[in-house]
């Protein structure tokens, strides 16, 4: 059974999609890598970005980390603070 997760977008990813949050439908027990694949399918423009990381609950997540429906998920394009 699929579930829907919300993904926070910032900077270039927000500009490319025109949205600050997007919903993604994922199979049960999906991992970060599948979330990223699905986002790339839904928003092909993301391919132009140098790198994309995912944060889960405010922490950088590995590709094999499980994604839960109530997690706070964010897409992290290359940072440029300072």
């Amino acid at each position: 059974m699929n579930s829907t997760v919300s993904v926070l977008l910032f900077g270039i990813t927000r500009d490319l999609t025109g949205q600050s949050t997007v919903s993604v439908s994922l199979p049960a027990n999906a991992r970060v890598a599948e979330l990223l694949n699905q986002l790339h399918q839904n928003y092909p423009a993301l391919a132009s970005i140098r790198s994309l990381l995912v944060a889960v609950n405010g922490e950088y997540a590995e590709a094999d980390q499980l994604v839960h429906q109530n997690d706070e998920i964010a897409l992290i394009p290359p940072v440029s603070g300072g």
């Binding site: 926070l8 910032f10 900077g11 140098r50 922490e59 950088y60 992290i76 440029s80 603070g81």
Partner: protein, 136 residues
């Protein structure tokens, strides 16, 4: 002390925070909005942050620095929103007994901020704009 703020960064109050009777050295680094990027004139910058995580990552960097060097005080203040030329985007302040530690910790903190903290900078030129580092 860690802060992410929409208000101008006040160096005088930062200095006040950094003072300690045991401090022999204080290093303050300021990242400032400059008027050009590779000779292209910049009009202004816009900084955007994933606030919760940015604060968490800055705190991790401060904790790391505190592990690596004997810091008496450590201050990281990052600005967000629209910044004009000459405005301070980030202030790192470190107080230590001896100067080598202050320089090394301050440099470590700013270098690491630029690698890990989810803050994004858009350069706005007279004729366009670009998210810094976003594209290959």
């Amino acid at each position: 002390m860690i802060a992410l703020t929409s208000e101008p960064i006040d160096v005088t109050s930062a200095l006040y925070e950094l003072q300690s009777a045991q401090a022999g050295a204080i290093d303050i680094f300021l990242g400032v909005v400059r008027d050009n990027t590779q000779q292209r004139p910049v009009d202004r910058l816009e900084y955007e942050a994933y606030d919760r995580m940015a604060i968490g990552e800055m705190q991790k960097i401060a904790d790391d620095a505190n592990q690596r060097w004997p810091l008496l005080r450590c201050l990281i203040i990052h600005r967000k929103g629209t910044l004009q030329i000459g405005e301070i985007a980030v202030l790192i302040g470190v107080a230590t007994a001896h100067r080598a530690d202050a320089f090394e910790a301050c440099r470590y903190i700013i270098d690491t901020i630029k690698q890990t903290v989810p803050i994004w900078k858009k350069e706005i030129f007279m004729d366009g704009e670009i998210w810094v580092n976003a594209h290959p």
